[in-house]
Symmetry: C2
Subunit: 623 residues, 2 copies
C-alpha cells in the first residue's frame, strides 16, 4: 500500500501505521504537540484520494472534516492514499524565534572583562629526541617536558598513549598538545600542522536547538544553525518528554532525537566554513534541567516526582564521545549548571548574559519560552522560580496558535468603532494562525476596545459579526480565506490568561519572599527568542509584565545561547556561571502558600488590583 503526497513523493505504508508515523519514518515531520494522541489537532492533512480508517477527529470542526481534513495521527489508510499537507501542519525550520540572534557577542565578551580562555589549553612542546644515553620512554619524555612547563598530573588516556610513539616520531618530536584543566588530553598534533581552534555553543531548548560555531582564537561567531528540537514529536513540554522518557526505550529515543538535531546542524556548518570535525575541541551546552538530563541520557523521572530532584545540577565535563556530538571525540563538553528541577542551565546562562549578577541594582530576569522562569536579584543575592506558564505563547493549546513562521498573525489592531481588526502577518501572506506576539496583541486590543471584559469573556451584545459561536463556544474571527479561518476562542483566551497569570504571580511571589515591592526593580530583562517580538505596552495591558517605566525593559533575545557562547570562551565566566547556579535560591511555587492567591488575583485583565497597573488604569479611563 502506498502513500502519495502532492509534492510527488510516494512511499509505502502499512495498515497498522498512522499517516503521522509513516511520514515521520520518511523524514516528513508534522507539528504534533501532543505526540500523536489526537489531542492537539495540529497534524492536519487533507485526504484527496483513497479510503482510510479514522480513529478520532479530535478538535476538527465539522466543516474541516467535510473538506477532507483529517488528523494524520488518527488516520490509517485502507488503500493507496493521496494526501496534501497544509503548510501550517509542517514542522518548518527557520522561524523568527529559532533564528533570533543575539547582539554583538565579542562586544559583550569584552564588556564582561573576560579574557579568551577556552576549555582546552594548548601548549607546543619541542622534545629532545631520545638517544641511547637519554632513553626514557616516550610518555616519560612527554611528562618531563610538561613538568618543566609546570604542567603536572595529566591523565593520559589509552587511545592517546596507543598512538603516541608514532605521532612523536612522525612529528619529529615537535608537537602541539591540547589538554583540559581537569588534566585530560584532548589532542596531539605535529607542531607544523596548522590547526584551527573551534568550539560549539549549543542551546537545547524544549522547542528549538541553536548551534553557534565559534573561533576560539578571537571569539568570532563564525556561523549559526538552528532547528526545531525533534523531541517535539513526543510532546511540546518537558513534562510530556519526561513521561515519554520513562517508557521503554523512550529516554534513548529522546536523546537520539536531540543529538541528531545537533549533529545535523553541525554538518553544513563544517562544510560551509571548511572546518575539520576534529578541530572542534570543545563545546558548551545550555538547556533546562530536563533537556540537559536527556542530552546526557540521564533518567529525568525524579525531576517530576516530589520532592523534584534532578540527578545532577553540576555536570561533570564528560567527553564528546560520551555525549554523541560528533566533534573531536575527546573534546570536553561543559554543561551550564542547573539550579533545580525546573530552573536549568539555560537560565544560569541567561543571568550570566544579562550581567544582573554583577550589579548592585535589583533586576528581574524573565525567560518567556516553552516554560517560564524568573529570577530576581543582584550581585548579593538571587532568587528564582519556575512558573509552569506552558507553551501557549508558542501556539500550543491555542486553536489557531502557531509558531512565528510565515502566515502567522504577529500584530493586531482593532478599530474601536467597527471592531474590524488590522492584522500584521509574517511574510505578508494570508493568515494561517496566530503566534505568541499576535496573541498578546489580540487580547490586549480586544480588552482595550471592549470586546472582552476583565475576566477575558466576550462582552455580550456588541455590534459586530466577528463574534460567533464556534465549536468550543464563542470565538472572534480574525480572518477567513478559502483555505482557513483564523479565530480566537474564549477557551484560548482562558489559556493565555492562565499563562500570563502564572508568570506575573511568580514575579509577585518572588518579590514578597525577599520583602521587596515592584518599584525596587531597576531593570527587567526579557529573554527567550519570543521575548524579542513582544510589544511591552501590550504585554503590560495583558498583565503579563509588571507595569514599570518602559525604559527599564531590555530584550536579551536567546540569552541561553549567549551565555553558552560566553562560557565557551572564558574560564572566568564558566566560574561565574557556577557561582550564579550555586547562589540562586530556588523557590518551589507549587508548594508556596502565597502562590495560589497571587495566581488567582492575576487571572484578570490586567489584574484584580488595577492599582498595580497604573498606566493601564489610565488607558482604560481615557477610552
Amino acid at each position: 500500500m502506498d502513500i502519495k503526497l502532492t509534492t510527488g513523493k510516494t512511499f509505502p505504508i502499512s495498515e497498522e501505521e498512522s499517516l503521522l508515523q509513516a511520514l515521520k519514518r520518511q523524514g516528513v515531520y508534522l507539528v504534533a504537540s501532543c505526540g500523536g494522541k489526537g489531542i492537539c489537532g495540529k497534524c492536519r492533512v487533507r485526504i484527496l484520494e483513497g479510503k482510510s480508517r479514522i480513529t478520532s477527529t479530535g478538535k476538527l470542526v465539522p466543516q474541516e472534516i467535510k473538506a477532507g481534513i483529517s488528523l494524520a495521527c488518527q488516520t490509517f489508510p485502507e488503500e493507496d492514499i493521496f494526501i496534501d499537507i497544509p503548510k501550517e501542519s509542517k514542522l518548518i525550520i527557520g522561524d523568527k524565534i529559532a533564528l533570533s540572534k543575539s547582539g554583538n557577542l565579542s562586544e559583550l565578551l569584552k564588556s564582561l572583562g573576560a579574557e579568551i580562555s577556552p576549555i582546552v589549553r594548548r601548549i607546543t612542546l619541542n622534545l629532545p629526541p631520545p638517544t641511547i644515553q637519554d632513553n626514557i620512554s616516550d610518555l616519560e619524555r612527554l611528562r618531563k617536558s610538561l613538568e618543566e612547563r609546570d604542567i603536572t598530573g595529566i591523565r593520559f588516556n589509552h587511545e592517546f598513549v596507543s598512538s603516541l610513539s608514532d605521532t612523536l616520531r612522525d612529528a619529529g618530536w615537535k608537537i602541539t598538545l591540547g589538554y583540559t584543566v581537569g588534566h585530560d588530553i584532548v589532542y596531539i598534533s605535529p607542531d607544523d600542522v596548522e590547526k584551527g581552534r573551534y568550539g560549539l555553543a549549543v542551546d537545547i531548548g524544549t522547542t528549538t536547538v541553536v548551534v553557534y560555531l565559534v573561533n576560539l582564537i578571537d571569539g568570532q561567531l563564525i556561523d549559526v544553525g538552528s532547528t526545531y528540537n525533534s523531541q517535539m514529536r513526543y510532546g511540546d513540554d518537558v513534562i510530556t518528554r519526561i513521561i515519554y522518557a520513562a517508557e521503554s526505550g523512550g529516554l534513548g529515543e529522546l536523546r537520539d532525537s536531540v543529538l541528531s538535531d545537533i549533529n545535523d546542524l553541525l554538518n553544513p556548518l563544517l562544510e560551509r566554513n571548511n572546518i575539520r570535525r576534529e578541530d572542534i575541541e570543545s563545546a558548551v551546552v545550555a538547556g533546562n534541567t530536563t533537556m540537559t538530563h536527556i542530552f546526557w541520557g540521564l533518567n529525568p523521572a525524579y525531576i517530576r516526582e516530589e520532592p523534584y530532584i534532578p540527578t545532577v545540577n553540576f555536570f561533570p565535563r564528560w567527553r564528546a564521545e560520551t555525549s554523541g556530538i560528533k566533534i573531536n571525540s575527546k573534546a570536553p563538553i561543559y554543561s551550564l549548571p542547573c539550579v533545580a528541577s525546573y530552573v536549568g542551565g539555560d537560565i544560569v546562562a541567561g543571568v550570566l548574559a544579562s550581567k544582573m549578577h554583577r550589579s548592585n541594582e535589583i533586576a528581574l530576569f524573565m525567560d518567556i519560552g516553552t516554560n517560564g522562569e524568573i529570577v530576581v536579584g543582584n550581585s548579593d543575592w538571587l532568587v528564582t522560580a519556575a512558573c509552569s506558564a506552558g507553551p501557549c505563547f508558542e501556539g500550543s493549546g491555542i486553536r489557531h496558535g502557531m509558531r512565528a513562521t510565515e502566515g502567522a498573525v504577529e500584530s493586531v489592531n482593532i478599530d474601536p468603532q467597527t471592531f474590524e481588526p488590522t492584522l500584521g502577518v509574517i511574510g505578508d501572506t494570508k493568515a494561517m494562525g496566530i503566534c505568541g506576539s499576535g496573541l498578546i496583541d489580540a487580547i490586549a486590543e480586544m480588552f482595550l476596545k471592549g470586546i472582552i471584559d476583565r475576566k477575558g469573556k466576550f462582552v455580550k451584545g456588541l455590534k459586530t459579526g466577528r463574534i460567533k459561536d464556534g465549536f468550543e463556544g464563542p470565538e472572534f474571527l480574525f480572518s477567513r480565506n478559502e483555505s482557513r479561518e483564523v479565530v480566537l476562542t474564549e477557551v484560548d483566551i482562558e489559556n493565555i490568561l492562565r499563562s500570563k497569570a502564572a508568570m506575573y504571580a511568580g514575579v509577585s511571589l518572588l518579590l514578597k519572599e525577599v520583602g521587596l515591592g515592584l518599584d525596587a526593580i531597576a531593570k527587567v530583562y526579557i529573554a527567550g527568542g519570543f521575548g524579542n517580538c513582544i510589544d511591552i505596552d501590550k504585554a503590560i495591558i495583558l498583565g503579563m509584565l509588571p507595569d514599570l517605566p518602559r525604559e527599564r525593559f531590555f530584550f536579551l533575545g536567546n540569552a541561553s545561547i549567549t551565555g553558552a557562547y560566553l562560557c565557551l570562551l572564558s574560564k572566568d565566566l564558566r566560574q561565574e556561571a557556577g557561582i550564579i547556579a550555586s547562589k540562586m535560591t530556588y523557590i518551589e511555587l507549587s508548594i508556596s502558600r502565597g502562590f495560589m492567591d497571587e495566581y488567582m488575583s492575576a487571572l484578570f485583565l490586567p489584574h484584580t488590583h488595577l492599582r498595580l497597573f497604573p498606566t493601564v488604569q489610565k488607558l482604560l479611563s481615557t477610552q
Copy 2:
C-alpha cells in the same frame, strides 16, 4: 578432507592449511618455538595414514622421517589423514615452572611492614534523603557527603551517574562506594549488600601466565591459576613477538592471545571460589616491557629499534574495560613500572619481593627465565642490565630440549669410569627430552667427568659408545627407547655456553660499572620459576653463577607474581615499586665496550680465568 587424531577427534582441514594451523584452529596447541617456520623442529607429529605434501623436514633426522615423523607446520594433507601427536610436541599446562609457588605471602607482606591498602578505597555513606526543602541534586548530595568525609575531586564517570538516581533510591540512601586515589569511581552498591573485595595479581611471562586471586580484606591468597602464554604460538622470545606485532594485525592477535589466557584462567577461579566477577575490584600486572606493552595493545616496535625506547615505563592506571580483563569494568589496573626496553615490571616486582632495595648490603638479583635480567645494588643505588640469554634453558634451541614437564630429564649423574649416565626424569617415566636444570647438570657432569673440555667440545678417544656422530656433528646419547633417543649435541652445548656466558658477563660488567668486585655481593637472589630447580653447585661449575659461598644464594621462585601480589595489597609498596623503577640505572650491554670481552672470557667452562672460580678449580684439581 578430514584430519583424525589417535585420540579419536576428527575435524575438517583444507589443502592450504598446515596441520599446525588446523590443529590450532581446533584448540590443539603444539610446541612451535619458531612460530611455524620449520626451524625449531618441535611440532613433530607421526603420520599414520594418508598422503600429504611436506614442504620441509627441518631438523628431523632420516630415521625420524622414515618412522613417519613430520613437522606439523610443514605438512599439508592431500587426502584424509590420520596422525598421532607425541606427548613432547604438545603444549601442556601445569609444568613445574608455571606452577612454582612463592612462599608464605602474608608473612612476606607483614615482614615488609606494609598495611593492607588496596588500590580501590571503600567508604560507606548514609545520605539524608531529599525533601522539598533539601532539594539538591543526587550527585550534589553525594558530593556533599563525600566532602564531609574530606573526599574531594572525585571524577564521576557517565555510566556511574547514569545509574545513580535509581541506585540511591533502591539502596535507601545508604551506599558503599569504591573509588581510586586517582578519584575515579569504581562501584556503588547498597550498603546492606555483602560485597566481597577481591583482586588479581597477574604475572605475564614471555612463556607462562600466572594469576593469583587474592582476598583484599585479609591479603589471603585464595587460588592460583597458570598456563602457557599462548603468544608462544608466534615465537618463543620477545624479539619474535615484537616482529610479529609489527605485521598487520599481529599486535591485536598477540594482545588477544594473552587476554584470553588471563580470562580463561580467571573463569575457573571465580567458579571454584564462588566469587562474582564484578567483585574483583582491582588488578596488578607484572611483565617485561614487551609483554606489558602488548597487554595494553601498545606498539612494541620501538623497543627493538635503536635507541630502544618503550612507549611507556610508568603506565597510567587504566581501567579493566580498557585492558579487556573481564572483571569489574571500572576496576583500576596497576602495571608494575618498567625500567627500560629490556628490564620490565617483572624485574621491578622481583626486586620489591627480594627486599634488596631496603638493605645496606649489596645484593645481586638474577632472573633466569626466557630472558635473563640482572640487578645489583642496595638501598642507595641499583643498576640493571638485560643479558639476552635466550630461552635455551626452557628447551628452545636445544635438539631435545623441553620444558620441565613429565618425561624431562631434570638431573644427571655420570659415572667417572664408565661414562654411563644416571638420569632423574620428571614423573619417573621414560626420558623424552632434557629441561633446563637437566641441561645444567648434564654439562657440569660431562665437564667434571672429562667428557667435554673447557670449550665444551667432546674429548676425543674416550672409551664409550655414548658419543656418536649425529645429524649435526658429535652428540652424547643419554637415553634411547623405542619411541625416542635423547641426546645432547655439541651445538646444544655451544648454545648453552652462550647463554650462561651472557649472564655471567652481565654480572661482571655491572659490577665493573659500579667499581665493585664479586666479593662485595652479600646475597644472590635467583628468581624465575626455573631458578627453583637449579643445583647451585652445578650452575657454578658451568660458570653461570658466580663462585660465592653457597649460603649467600636464595631462591625466590616466581618473584614477579610475588611483587604483583604485594602491590595489589599495599599503597606503600606500590610507591616503593615506583621508586625502585625510577632509581634503577639501566646499562645497555649491547653498546658497552667491556661487554664483548667479558662475554668471550665467559664462553669457557667455567670461565677463561679459572681463578674466578676457586671451588671449581679445587674440584678439577682433585678429580
